[in-house]
Amino acid sequence: VTLSTRANSLWETASRERVTALVDARLLQVLARAYVEVPFYRWFYGQAGVDPRRFRSSDDVRRDLPFVTKADLLAFQDSPEWERLDQREVRQFHLTSGTSGAGREVHLRDQRDLAAFGTGGGYSFVWAGLRPGDRILLTIPYTQTMAGPYFQAACEAAGVVPVNGFTLDSETRIDALGRYGCAAVSITPSHLHRLTVLAQQQGIEPARDLPRFKAVIMSGESYGVGWARSMEAYWGARLHEGWGATQTLGVAMATCARGAVVDGPGGPARGTLHGLDHRCVIEVLDGDEPAPPGGVGEIVITTLRISAMPCLRFRMGDRVRRRAGACPCGATFSTYVAASIGRIDDMMKVRGMNVWPAAVDAAIFESTAVADYRGRLLTDDEGREQMELAVELRPGIASPDELQAALRAAVKARVGITPTVRIVTPGGLAEPILAGTDTFKARRWTDQRLGQTVASA
């Protein structure tokens, strides 16, 4: 991989001054248009008593434009305004996953959105070294969420040929990598780990069996640097990362050609995610104030290329660490630390699904026999992600076998994942970890997947 890999040098190497000037001008146009033409914003800003047409600079926007949250979008969908929407220009619609239990956002798309749909992913693919005609195995599910059509559009934008592995099992996906001469795979880190274990068990040597394979494009979960290097060593491919969401119409940040893990002075280090600043304004806020370079904050996005349902100062609920300096690749886009993206709330990604501890709490504590529990996420010897619950019973409770089965079923029904359940006698659990000195929120969960050991949620 050469450092000169560019998807569009016109933007990637433009001066910050020029990018800022064009983006600021576009930002004001987008706000004014949204207020006039997008029903949600007429409703939302009308309720807030804000007319964004009066803004004269991006400073005005950052100071005075209210944030939008998922709750705001859901409230609009429940309002009579939603029923009256003119949807004649709608060409697709995409739902958010809805596993929070709060509800599913509906994002309408018009023809302009479809034309812009894959461009962000196209940047990611080109930066990963993919070229027209290269083939990529797609493993992210194709459902009513945006992911499926998005990856197809990203392939089209970059001229990359999709190998649709959504419905294949793990063994068949490994077979498809060789059978179709794939150059890349798009995959979650946890599933990459699973495929790696299986491929090693099958005696596959990528250098011999997958001669065209050169890139792994990950999304959806975090990962450790040591783990990433071990994956690169086995697959003989560079690991890359992309971040985006339904609200951003796909990728808004991606690693450059240097990849997700790079050589640092003290060994492997996290690579750099670049924001596609000309398509999506990314704010990183600590509370409501900008996080400093090197600091961590919530990602707040303002889309510049979405027509039907732009997201303007939308609080994503994801956090990221800003990189303190420029990237050696020479791109002038904003910089963030690879593998630093996680949730600011306590959501966990398990087997690609969003799991909120509150949902597990609800399932477990439905049983009056339960005193408390601890959860652990781990990667087993077969590379599968597992959820393990240690459940402490109240004194005098019998029939633990029946209770185990009932708790497994209850968690499966609530969050879609069947855990292993271990019954602990009264007093057998350690005290919960406290989330911080300013809170008494108990952290019941430990994440030990992919070389990480972090207390969470």
């Binding site: 016109l10 064009l22 001008a25 146009q29 023809q111 302009r112 812009a116 461009t119 000309h278 398509r279």
Partner: protein, 67 residues
């Protein structure tokens, strides 16, 4: 900014205008060809996207005014 990129941005702007003209003609005519109308809609949207990706090269800064 390079001269070829400037020319490209100008040509992309012309393409967008041509697509808009096609849309006007299709709208005004009695043409019974919904798929042609759709093709025009798609070309027009792609021309917008092209203009935006070229906007950094557009010395007049006109490309952002696409919507």
């Amino acid at each position: 900014m390079t001269a070829p990129a400037d020319g490209l941005a100008q040509a992309a702007g012309d393409l967008r205008q041509a697509a808009a003209r096609c849309a006007e003609l299709a709208h005004d005519s009695t043409l019974d060809a919904p798929l042609v109308t759709r093709l025009i809609e798609r070309v027009s949207a792609l021309a917008d996207e092209l203009c935006w990706e070229l906007a950094a090269a557009d010395p007049a800064g006109s490309a952002p005014n696409s919507t």
